[in-house]
């Protein structure tokens, strides 16, 4: 007895919208980044699940997930570098305080 595909997808949906909630409500930029990771992870799961259940003979979904993980790593590294740099300048990493270049 197989676990129905829909269960996986519902889990990833919950994970995704948890990420959305975090992204919208948290002020700390690191927290926003963590929320983004959650969303990405949810999407990764979807890729793998769809590949496995709908096209078991192909492996495109899985390869995409691999690349997505690689890109997520790159993105996180750069984002954290920027955040640390900002922290050095204004001793704070709240997104609301970043308005020096506004207007």
């Amino acid at each position: 007895m197989e676990t129905p595909m829909i269960y996986y997808i519902i889990i990833s949906t919950i994970m995704f919208f948890a990420g959305v909630y975090g992204f919208i409500t948290r002020k700390n930029m690191l927290m926003m980044l963590i929320s983004i990771e959650l969303m990405l992870n949810a999407v990764d799961i979807n890729f793998a699940v769809f590949n496995r259940y709908l096209y078991p003979d192909a492996m495109e979904g899985m390869i995409f997930t691999l690349f997505a993980i690689g890109i997520a790593a790159a993105e996180t590294a750069i984002a954290i570098a920027i955040i640390i740099n900002i922290f050095r300048h204004i001793r704070n990493i709240d997104a609301e305080n970043l308005d020096d270049m506004k207007y």
Binding site: F23, I24, T25
Partner: protein, 635 residues
């Protein structure tokens, strides 16, 4: 005679050079450069005159020469504006007058303006003026004349306002510019009407067939006068503005706020006679509309008398000279007005007018330059600060006396001959105007000698703090040269060169007229001598006996006040202010309202553009969800 173009280009080049370098040049260098340029110009102008008047006569007259004519702007076959140089007896005569006086003023200014701030600028403007004035007289067509006409207006404006830190000078320059500009509006309309019917701007074409304008405008009339008459009257209006004819004369006395050499050059000898020159230039056209000539006669005669009366009571010596200028120019206008036809005798006034223009330019420039020397010495324009100066300034005294005798019409000085021709011409036409003008001539003698005695005789005021001294050489040399010209200019056989139809005219004196005018001039001089030779109570008593007239004349018959009333109380208060209100509150208000609404709305909605990525994300996702819901409901 293409080389005559140098006469225009050289002052232009000087203007650019001096104007652009300005304070990079030392004042001395600038003055010498400007003067040298003018010397070359004068030489070329004399050569031109010599060459022109020694050429063989064709049919008894000197043929006009179009030295250069370039098509500048072409709109249609008929409508094109040319620039060129047109030489005929009067323009060549004007070239000589302008360059001579301008050169004198250039030399004189070296001394008079010495040490002034903006000396280089002054010379640059002088060059600009010379260029414009010379361009005006050699214009081949009426539009070129109009262009240079405005240019002399601008340079006059610049030079009157030379002392731009003085509020009087600034308002005087504005006044001069606005009044002449207002008159030029009439000039422009006149040009447009004229060329609309005749299909040409060209002087040669216009004057060759003066009857054309009548045939072309036949049937068209406005307010009871033919359109041709209106066109010429409007053109005359431009001339009247420049030549300070009543009632457009109000700018000229105020223009005396400029430096004195400028008054000599622009407001006595050259620019103010541009109106006379304009009428003379278009004289064949005026001939076919005698009603306009009658109008010119009346305007001229009224102006002459008015200015002469006012000149009798002014206390500022430059103002006396300014009113005297107005009066003398009015003489020229009257002479043109009484001239009829291109017949030698009926058109005597034309020759007389040009002759008087020539002699007047010389002796009036001399008077102004002399007045400048006096002002230079006593540091005041007021008569009360002067008196007994003959001992301190002998050269100025003698030259000034010569000029006074000339303007009063005493032989053998030049003014006698030219004024006599004018009086003869006027007498021939109408006895009434003849007597009128003779009286004005007597008044002229009186006020000139009043001025002379008040300055050089009378009683000395207290000079202890500053003893007057003779002017430097750069100032006295032009005085002497001009005085010499004034002495001999009357014997120039002027009629041989300039006359109404180009035929040589031998000037002969009408004994009756000559005798009368000499007698009346002598009466004027004697009266002035009796009143002003020594300090006494007589002038005051005389003024008291005619208190009303005296006060009115002293205030120039309240013409300025009338202008003030009309412009401020009527035009400004009743027309301009409501329009300004409408503009400010309705038109601007509409625009402001639009701007305010835009600003208000953007202030309200700018919160959306907060820059907070979380708000954006929320809105974006909410929008996506809404679209998803809509999609699911529909399909």
């Amino acid at each position: 005679m293409e080389y005559t173009v140098i006469i225009l280009l050289l002052p232009m080049a000087m203007f650019l050079l001096l104007g652009l370098l300005d304070s990079k040049l030392s004042p001395r260098m600038a003055g010498i450069l400007g003067t040298l340029g003018m010397i070359v110009c004068t030489a070329v102008a004399y050569t031109t005159a010599y060459q022109y008047f020694t050429q063989p006569r064709i049919d008894g007259e000197f043929p006009p020469v179009t030295a250069i004519n370039i098509e500048w702007l072409r709109f249609t076959d008929f409508l094109h504006i040319d620039l060129g140089i047109y030489l005929d007896p009067i323009s060549v005569m004007m070239l000589v007058v302008i360059t001579t006086v301008s050169l004198m003023v250039h030399i004189y200014s070296l001394g008079y303006m010495h040490g002034e701030i903006g000396f280089q600028r002054y010379y640059a403007f002088l060059s600009l003026f010379s260029m414009s004035m010379l361009g005006l007289v050699v214009a081949t067509n009426i539009f070129q004349m109009y262009i240079f006409w405005e240019l002399v207006g601008v340079s006059s404006y610049l030079l009157i306002g030379f002392y731009y830190t003085k509020p009087e000078a600034v308002s005087a320059s504005k006044k001069a510019f606005i009044v002449t500009r207002f008159a030029d509006l009439g000039f422009l309309i006149g040009i447009l009407i004229l060329s609309f019917y005749t299909k040409t701007f060209d002087f040669a074409t216009l004057t060759a067939a003066p009857g054309t304008i009548i045939t072309e405008t036949a049937g068209a009339s406005f307010l009871g006068c033919s359109v041709a008459a209106w066109a010429l009257a409007l053109i005359f209006m431009g001339g009247a503005g420049k030549s300070a004819m009543f009632p457009l004369h109000i700018w000229l006395p105020d223009a005396m706020e400029g430096p004195t050499p400028v008054s000599a050059l622009i407001h006595a000898a050259t620019m103010v006679v541009a109106g006379v020159y304009l009428v003379a230039r278009l004289f064949p056209l005026f001939c076919v509309t005698p009603e306009v000539l009658d109008f010119i006669t009346v305007v001229g005669a009224v102006t002459a008398l008015y200015a002469a009366i006012v000149a009798c009571v002014q206390s500022d010596i430059k103002r006396v000279l300014a009113f005297s200028t107005i009066s003398q120019i009015a003489f020229m206008m009257v002479a043109l007005g009484v001239a009829r036809d291109t017949d030698l005798h009926a058109g005597l006034g034309y020759m007389a007018s040009m002759f008087h223009l020539f002699t007047h330019a010389m002796f009036k420039a001399l008077l102004f330059l002399g007045a400048g020397a006096i002002i230079h010495a006593v540091h005041s324009n007021e008569m009360t600060a002067m008196g007994g100066l003959r001992k301190y300034m002998p050269i100025t005294h003698i030259t000034f006396l010569i000029a006074c005798l000339a303007i009063a019409g005493i032989p053998p000085f030049s003014g006698f001959f030219s004024k006599d021709e004018i009086l003869t011409a006027v007498m021939n036409k109408s006895l009434f105007w003849g007597i009128w003008m003779t009286v004005v001539a007597g008044l002229t003698a009186f006020y000139m000698f009043r001025l002379y005695y008040r300055i050089f005789w009378w009683n000395k005021p207290d000079y202890s703090h500053h003893t007057p001294h003779e002017a430097p050489l750069t100032m006295t040399i032009p005085l002497i040269i001009l005085a010499a010209i004034t002495c001999v200019a009357g014997f120039i056989p002027f009629g041989e060169f300039v006359s109404v139809n180009g035929q040589p005219y031998h000037i002969h004196l009408d004994p009756t007229v000559a005798t009368t005018s000499i007698i009346i001039a002598l009466i004027g001089i004697s009266l002035a001598t009796w009143l002003f030779l020594k300090e006494n109570k007589k002038p005051g008593a005389m003024a008291d006996s005619m208190r009303t007239l005296y006060t009115a004349a002293y205030h120039r018959f309240y013409i300025d006040e009338i202008y003030q009333f009309v412009t401020h109380k009527i035009i400004f208060a009743l027309i301009c202010r409501p329009i300004a209100w409408f503009d400010r509150h309705i038109i601007d208000g509409t625009m402001n309202m639009l701007a305010n609404v835009t600003q208000g709305v953007s202030a309200r909605i700018k919160g959306l553009q907060s820059g907070y990525i979380q708000s954006y994300a929320w809105i974006f996702l909410a929008g996506a969800l809404v679209i998803a819901i809509i999609t699911m409901c529909c399909f």
